[in-house]
Amino acid sequence: MANEDIRILVVDDELGMREGCRKILTAEGYQVSTAADGAEGFEIFQRERNFAVALVDLKMPRIGGIELIHRIRELDDTIIMFVITAHAAIDTAVEATRRGAYGYIPKPFTPDELLLPLRNGLERRALAIEAQRLRREREGRLFELAFERSKSSTIISCMTDGVLVINRDKQIVLRNAALTRIMPSFAVLPLSSPIEEIQCREIIDLFEDAFSDGTTPVIASKEVALAGKTYLANASPVLEPDGKVMGAVLVLRDISELKKLETAKSMFISMVAHEVKSPLAAIESQLTMVLNGFLDNDPEKKTGAIERALLRATGLRTLVSDLLNLTAMETGHFEIKRVPLAIRSVIDEVIAANRERAEDGSVEITMSCAEDMDGVQVLADKDSMFMVFSNLLNNAIKYSPPPGHVEVVVEHDRTHVHVTVKDSGIGIAKEDQENIFDEFFRVKSAHTQRITGTGLGLTIVKRLVDMHDGAITVESALGEGSAFTVSLPITR
């Protein structure tokens, strides 16, 4: 440290002494502050603090030298303090040293008599400060280490994945709470038990794989079934910095839910395949029959088979577009543009589009609309609404044996518009009602055999209503018709 950075406090009630010291010390480049008594000296020390050295006279008014040294030492453990006094007495010097003084310089003194002990003191101070710095650093590092250690062990114990670590001798050295939950037999195994005691061949084998025999450590991974759940087990070697294997760590992750999803997905694919293959098989069979001449003696049946084949082909096309729509909805690619919409106008359009087909099947459609519906709007995508209500109306017509009647009621309360499509059809049994919105669910009965459908219509309706923050409910009883009500929030 350059002398210019070293600040020295001189406390003496003799002006000549103060100024003499100042002269000697400033000549050496030191920064000097002076005080005329102990009280002033303490005040300056408290205000400025960063003094390296204090020269303190013993006999001063107000606060004496011994007391000042004591007070300063309590606040600063590195400052070097010298007693400067003409009344040198051993016992006083001893007392001063006991209170925290570093040395004693008798008055009067030559510049060298002051500077030499001062430099010694400064060196001593530098060493003390360095030692203190090292000590703090070490303490800090230990603290950090302890903190890191508790942090990682906290993290490991909080992990939802099971963690098991073994050492080179294949003894258990660490396991977390999740692992003992997954394999309760672990809770009773003491640490450093040999790995064989876990009695799970698959996991022991995984560890063996992770150790391997060669130089390249491998990560072994396998699905393990434990207590009705499926886990993905990954074992990897723990390496020393030089690459030597010092143990292995196994992580067990519960993938049961993923497996369920996977099963549901392949179920869905199987169902799609079935729904596609059935009509194709029917069409092929119908055409084969015609071509092979099975129906040659009955022209009516022959035409009928071709008509049915055509109908199935059309149904297949509807199925494919329904599937595409549904997939788009599921992957978030089904775009809807929600704008304020008078639902009444959509219903009118849907009815107009279906009226002819209904009349062909001797089904009458009526519509009733609350008088105050004018100006009541919902925030909705027009195409989606058209899809929702034509699906519902279509079903109502399809499932109403002639002469049938379908009634559409549009009304609202304070918060929602309610559109009910009510038919005089065959109705839905209570136990089927909860399934009708499921993909490919179709009620199978003697009444529904002749009615074609993809089994996706109501699934799509429900998805669309959900996308519009609405709800759909059904009220029905076998033989008494069904009423589907769509409720959509009113926009202001």
Binding site: A273, A281, S285, Q286, M289, A305, Q449
Partner: protein, 147 residues
């Protein structure tokens, strides 16, 4: 008195297939009874015992055909009635219904397995084989196919 032509019960939830089977089988003189669900088939078969049953596989449930076949085979009233399973769901991701041999057929309680679309001639040949084998083993009169 000429023996009555054999009666075949068919269960399938696809109306078109019921109709197709009916056309094919009736054109060769068989008597045919069609059912839309396994339950309806069991009920109908109890009133008039068929000489052979053809069942679809995936109806109201994925394996409805299998449980139907099991019910037929374990019912004393239908002892010896051959069962043919025909499905469009031959093999799919995760499921493979196609029997590899006699043991697989026995496990699914079936005497024969056809993938849809069914080749009419192959089906007729199999029916002929199963019905005549049964006739030979039961009453020895060797009923002839159709009329």
């Amino acid at each position: 008195m000429a023996p009555e032509p054999p009666e075949i019960a068919i269960v399938d939830d696809d109306m078109d297939f019921l109709e197709l089977y009916r056309h094919v089988l009736e054109s060769r003189g068989y008597r045919v009874r069609c059912f839309g669900t396994p339950a309806a088939a069991l009920e109908g078969m109890a009133q008039s015992r068929p000489d052979l049953v053809i069942s679809d596989l995936m109806m109201e449930r994925l394996d409805a055909g299998f449980s139907f076949a099991r019910q037929v085979k374990s019912d004393e009233r239908f002892r010896g009635v051959p069962v043919i399973i025909a499905t469009a769901a031959g093999s799919q991701r995760g499921f493979d219904f196609r029997p590899r041999g006699a043991a697989d057929l026995a496990a699914m309680n079936a005497d024969a397995f056809f993938a849809k679309p069914v080749d009419p001639e192959a089906l007729l040949a199999k029916i002929r084989e199963l019905v005549s084998a049964r006739a030979a083993s039961s009453d020895g009169t060797g009923r002839k196919e159709g009329a």
